[in-house]
């Protein structure tokens, strides 16, 4: 399978019905790996469903679902090694799970509990984990992009065989940080993958109102960088393109932009009302005809690797696993109020020492 930039049409491996449109051998993926990919897809969706219920139950304040975008996230994160760095955005929990974040930690993050590696410091859109090289995103759309480039610059300065991947949405490409980050990475040949999940909306704003190009991928031309357009609902295509760009970056051949053309099923977040802007039938079309999980399952079935029995077994297994994870998260306590002052600086400044006393008095501790 030859992977070329600026194809105009999304690169794909599977047709919507799951039949391959390219030679699978060239992907070099084993049967076990196919099954593992499917498990990731199912798990990511299940985690997300479970997480969103927490909001509906009033137990969490916010949730941005990834449903519909699982293939983009799983396919792009699988080529990463342990040493590679990952910068997410507010909709990249699927990638974080692949990178090693535990479901229990994710739930704890959603609930704002101590088990959350970020200890309830962030609105639930992605915790960090230093040992996994996952940097927690701020909510400020686009900021992670220049940071990721800094990390990739450092990897190159230190001559490490590592890469950095950074996730962002179609809307984020309008921010200055996208531009500045792309330009820096191209100038320094930084080992970086710019991974754009183009789900066609930035809250209510459609891509055609966001920018005047047909694709995001072609924006790479402004930086002398390669831009790849991939079917974001085709996990094998996303994997193949991401692997290509990861290898390229790792071998010193610089950064790439990947646009994964996909669609989000949920509202922008639990605070959104998507009926205000979504045209009728659009969501149904994507969900019924292009679903990334179903599509890959059809592929497995066609390959005789999957059947209903296996499916039921997997779903039950995942459900049980997540029940345990959620329980672990729920058992974890809410952070101690007195910790609210910690980690502003390495040590409390004198002013914060003073505030610590005030807070202790206020809390009666």
């Amino acid at each position: 399978m030859e992977i070329k930039p600026f194809t105009g049409q999304p690169i794909s491996v599977l047709a919507y019905d799951g039949s391959p449109v390219t030679n699978l051998d060239s992907l070099g993926i084993s049967k076990d790996e196919y099954l593992s990919i499917y498990r990731w897809l199912v798990l990511a969706r299940a985690v997300d469903d479970r997480g969103y219920i927490l909001v509906r139950q009033g137990r969490a304040g916010f949730y941005a679902q990834i449903a519909g975008q699982e293939a983009s996230q799983i396919g792009s994160a699988l080529p990463l090694t342990k040493d590679d760095w990952l910068y997410g955005d507010h909709r990249s929990q699927g990638s974080m799970l692949v990178k090693g974040l535990r479901a229990a930690e994710w739930f704890a993050h959603v609930l704002g509990r101590s088990l959350d590696p970020s200890q309830g410091r962030l609105m639930p859109h992605g915790p960090g984990r230093n040992d996994l090289h996952i940097v927690p995103p701020s909510s400020t759309v686009g900021n992670q992009i220049t940071e990721a480039v800094g990390t990739a610059m450092a990897q190159r300065i230190k001559k490490r065989k590592e890469i950095t991947i950074v996730y962002f949405g179609d809307g984020a490409t309008s921010e200055g940080d996208f531009h500045v980050g792309m330009n820096f990475a191209a100038v320094y040949g930084s080992p970086c993958i710019f991974f754009c999940q183009n789900n066609q909306y930035a809250i209510s704003v459609r891509l055609q109102e966001q920018t005047h190009t047909k694709t995001i991928a072609e924006k790479a031309k402004a930086y002398g960088m390669d831009g790849f357009l991939v079917d974001g609902n085709d996990v094998l295509a996303v994997y193949a393109v991401s692997k290509h760009c990861a290898d390229k970056a790792r071998s010193g051949n610089g950064p790439s932009l990947i646009e994964a053309y996909t669609y989000r099923y949920g509202p922008h977040s639990s605070a959104d009302d998507d009926t205000r802007y979504r045209p009728k039938g659009e969501l149904e079309m994507w969900r019924n005809e292009r679903d990334p999980v179903v599509r890959f399952r059809r592929f497995l079935e066609k390959q005789k690797l999957w059947n209903d029995d296996k499916e039921q077994k997997l779903l039950a297994e995942v459900k049980a696993e997540l029940a345990v994870a959620l329980e672990e998260a729920e058992k974890s306590p809410v952070p101690e109020p007195m910790t609210v002052l910690d980690h502003t600086y390495e040590k409390l400044t004198p002013h914060l020492e003073w505030e610590r006393k005030e807070l202790a008095a206020e809390l009666g501790v």
Binding site: G171, S174, E175, Q210, T211, R276, P337, V340, H351, E355
Partner: protein, 333 residues
């Protein structure tokens, strides 16, 4: 300076409704008023302040923008120089920073650097403040930055009536105004808001509650925390006067001197972190101009000097108890 007058014949409104009606009426009145921001069109803004306005005024006057605050503020500057009166919405004030340069280097300085040839009659309105489980980037109160920027005016209403009158005044003002909307009370506080047009003058504070023992000087959502504290102190026979600044730049120095002269005890209350915050400006002003009136320390009540937390926002935000402790510190000197 006077307490907010309320026409009794009007219906109870939320601040969301009051702000929306200010925009609508000003757009009807002056076709140079245009709105721009993210998701303000069919979505009506994430807080629905612009709901329905695109249907009424069309895409040329209610402009859904790409996701770039530098573009929103920069374009507003260019529109204002040209003669329009843009009202830009920043979805959360935490996200003003990608456009901060355009605000402080351009909008604030255009009149000065052109020696009055060009002006920026524009409003940047944005929800601010905590108490909505918004975490570190949907809860901040960055007014200190704007107040410290000569050329900008800064307004922060505490109730729907004021919000409407202040927004109308801000739109009509010939200088750039940062209009900070306390999102926690967007729907939580109601009062009577007349249908017609009225202005609350920029630069004028209001006494929200009269008292003679101690002055709590504050603004925005914190006015309601002050009111709660005043109720508590009332039981201990401490009569708290609350001064709602309404405008932070230029703030109403006369009103401040008046209340300090009356009570001799001052608490300045803000939601933002303490160090470098706007409360410090008020305290410094009093310490320079009214030290003779003071019978106790000027006590600041503020958020802690940390980023805004998520899970622990209750332990973070100033509450009535914290204000009462400060009042006692100030009067038991």
């Amino acid at each position: 300076m006077a307490t907010a007058e309320v026409t009794k014949t009007q219906t109870q409104s939320t601040m969301v409704q009051a702000l929306r009606s200010a925009l609508l009426e000003e757009m009807e009145r002056d076709e140079n008023v245009v709105l721009l921001g993210e998701d303000i069109g069919p979505r009506g803004g994430v807080f629905l302040i612009t709901e329905g306005l695109i249907d009424r005024f069309g895409k040329d006057r209610v402009i859904d923008t790409p996701l770039a605050e530098a573009g929103i503020i920069g374009a507003a500057v260019g529109m204002a120089c040209y003669g329009l009166r843009p009202v830009a919405e920043i979805q959360f004030i935490d996200f003003i920073f990608p456009g901060f340069d355009l605000l402080v280097s351009e909008a604030a300085k255009m009149r000065y650097r052109s020696a009055g040839q060009f002006a920026c009659p524009m409003v940047v309105r944005s929800p601010y403040g905590g108490g909505v489980r918004g975490g570190g980037y949907h809860s901040q109160s960055p007014e200190a930055y704007f107040v410290a920027t000569p050329g900008l005016k800064v307004v922060a209403p505490s109730n729907p009536y004021d919000a409407k009158g202040l927004l109308i005044a801000s739109i009509r003002d010939n200088d750039p105004v940062v209009f900070m909307e306390p999102k926690k009370i967007y729907r939580a506080v109601k009062n009577e808001v007349p249908a017609g047009t009225y202005e609350i003058p920029i630069g004028k504070a209001a006494i929200t509650r009269e008292g003679k023992h101690v002055s709590v000087i504050t603004y925005g959502a914190m006015v309601h925390v002050a009111l709660e504290a005043a109720e508590i102190m009332q039981k201990e026979r401490v009569e708290v006067e609350i001064l709602d600044l309404r405008t932070l730049q230029p703030y109403d120095s006369e009103a401040i001197l008046e209340t300090v002269g009356k009570t001799g005890h001052v608490v300045v209350l803000q939601e933002a972190p303490r160090i470098g915050g706007f409360a410090g400006e008020i305290a410094a002003f009093i310490a320079e101009e009214a030290i003779g009136y003071l019978e106790g320390p000027i006590v600041r009540v503020a958020g802690w000097d940390t980023p805004f937390p998520y899970a622990l926002e209750k332990a973070y935000m100033p509450n009535a108890q914290r204000v009462c402790r400060a009042i006692k510190k100030s009067i038991n000197f």
